[in-house]
Amino acid sequence: MNKKVFFIFVVICFVVIGILPILFMLAKSVNVDGRFSLYFYKNFMNSSREWTLIRNSFTLSFLTTLFTTIIGLPLGILFAKTDLPFKKLFTVLFTIPLLIPPYITAISWFDLLGREGLLSKILNPATAEITSKWLFGLPGCVLILFSTFLPVIILLTITFLKTINPRLEEAGKLVSGWPGVLKGITIPLIMPGLLLASILVFLLTLGEFGVPTFLRYDVFPVESFTQFSAFYNFGAATAAAAPLVIITFIVLVIERIFLREKTYQLHPAVGGDKSSKINLGAYRKWFLIIVILLCFCIIILPFFVLLFHSLSVDVYKEALSRAGDSLFRSVAYAAVGASALSVLGFFLGYLIHSKTFRFWRAVDSLTIFLFALSGTIIGIGLINLWNRSATNFIYATPLIIIFGYLAQYTALTSRITVSTLAQIPSSMEEAAQVSGAKWMRRITLITAPMAKRGLIAGWLVGYIFCLRDMGVTMLVYPPGHDTLPVRIFTLMANGSTELIAALCVIMIIATLLPLGIGGILFKLRGFLK
């Protein structure tokens, strides 16, 4: 097959799965009784409540972004550039909240601070009364989304720090101490990357609906969910979702214009690993204490509350009998989803990397756009598009869930592919070309094997995001095919808190287990070599 034809096919797949549902929804929302009309939009914009919601959404996103950036940047620097003890362990621990559905973190905090949480038993109900009020609302939402998205900033800071040529810092070090170098050289150098990370956190917070729903803080995505649900009006629901789509789009365009050229390629700097470490000296102890405290408060404590709360064999038996099948399904769908994401993401990443088409930039932007879009919107779009008898083989089967994963998360695998391919010299594929190999052979036998590490990393990231997905799955899963996060969410209504806690623990283990195994395998391979 011709290379261009194949890649056009890949792009069509992406457009049909990801873009078409959104377009379809937009088309439906401007169609009132068969005529073009902006009725739903006008109706929507005239309501004062929507402006309150937009304000709430912005407040939540802004505060979350502010705190994650202010705290994530120093942590990233501490973990990447200093001689802080156990920094690898800390990096892993701080990453955990990102890997599990955020509303599970919310449940764990509820078990701790809620009216009948652990705190009310340890201290007194009056204190728990206050903490509960504090948890339900803006502060609680900020706290939970802060701990969820903090690792985005930490991990990206670490990654961007590795791309700095260490000579630049060493040159600064000749005339200044580390604080001066960090302030004058290092941080300005990673500033574009840091801003990119902050924007990502902002958009992810903007699209989040599970936590605000649980904690009863009214934000925009919840509203479009409610519009869709309470009043059974699809046109109005789309209109309600539109501002979010537009805001996401605008932020991404701004990002593209101002930042993209500066941060586009992530080459690890030559000798980046050998760059000099900051010696914390006498402050080491204090930094360690602060990091341990933070880690304890936002990661270890909530997890142990869940464990403590569910500590009984019977509860786990009940949990497994209630959700055993959905756990199995979750793992299976996430595995299939991750594999499909790896394939689609690899080819789209290859297309973006090799600039096969003039519109490669648009493909790249659209994947990011979908990633930042609320899962609710994608879900509604998928129902609108695929629910017809001719496409029952998609809509009435788990394929629709896989479509949802592909629509939402392709950016993850395509981006990982792009940054992996950037590290492979183009001569490798050219050498295969002069050896007489056609493009498919070159990609599958030369490029893909050389990008193996990136592909595996992409698969794992894809697996985790599919496994924790709730927004899309909740709306589209076929009868009898719900996944564990959805099952937990529906069981939360009047389910006993012990049962929910046990289910959350199971969910966390199901997420972390493959990562642990993957990590051990990687270590083992290094060891055998």
Binding site: P425, S427, M428, E430, A431, A432, Q433, V434, S435, G436, A437, K438, R441, L445, I446, P449, M450, K452
Partner: protein, 231 residues
């Protein structure tokens, strides 16, 4: 009869010319060296010949067939039957020496029995038969050069292109490998197009030399003539 011909080839990157009105001819079995400072466009000539980029104007002809013309690639690199040794060698790190050699043979659908015969033969010629199962990273710089050469020659191309292949080696090894390349040329008889910025290398390898500057041919002549000119 000429095996390679460039007719008034020009190539631009963002409106700046990389090569301008470049014309040359090369006969089969001939050894030609392109000499010039870095940035003079000599690597672009190779990439045009191999088919990795297309000329914005002019024609490139291989074996009396137009392979690229006026912004279009007519024959893809994999159809041009060239051998090439890259500046960074581009040995595939995930494949063994045997795998590196076998790749092209498989792509050209050479039968397994023949493959099992050709690969040891070629490695013997390069005195590399002991390293058949080694990975590229386990070889020394000189050994890697030999594997790259073996890989380029295993399909018996009529044309071998070399892009500064020896630039990263020390002086002694550099001289030794030049001799080996000439020996191989005598034995097999491919047309050799060799790009370098090193005069000595160019005079050693090329029977004819093209001196390039700023994307244009500055001088063409036999290696003696050019040597005289520089002296």
């Amino acid at each position: 009869m000429s095996i390679i011909e460039f007719k008034n080839v020009s190539k631009y990157y963002n409106d700046t010319p990389v090569i301008q009105n470049f014309s040359m001819k090369m006969d089969s079995g001939e050894r030609v060296a392109i000499l010039g400072p870095s940035g003079c466009g000599k690597t672009t000539v190779l990439r045009l010949l191999a088919g990795f980029t297309s000329p914005d104007s002019g024609e490139i002809i291989i074996n009396n067939q137009i392979v690229a013309a006026e912004g279009k690639i007519i024959k893809e690199p994999e159809e041009r039957n060239l051998g090439m040794v890259f500046q960074d060698l581009a040995l595939w790190p995930h494949l063994s020496v045997k795998g590196n050699l076998e790749f092209g043979l498989r792509a050209k659908r050479v039968q397994k029995i023949k493959r099992e015969k050709y690969i040891p033969e070629m490695l013997k010629l390069m005195q590399m038969e002991k390293s058949i199962h080694a990975k590229p990273a386990e070889l020394s710089g000189g050994q890697q050069q030999r594997v790259a050469l073996a890989r380029a020659l295993i399909l018996h191309p009529e044309i071998l292109i070399m892009d500064e292949p020896l630039s990263s080696l020390d002086q002694d090894l550099n001289v030794q490998l030049r001799k080996e390349i000439l020996k191989l040329h005598n034995k097999i008889g491919f047309a050799l197009l060799y790009v370098t910025h090193d005069r000595e290398e160019a005079f050693d390898i090329g029977s004819r030399i093209i001196v390039m500057k700023d994307g244009k041919v500055e001088r063409i002549g036999s290696s003696e003539e050019i040597k005289k000119h520089f002296d």
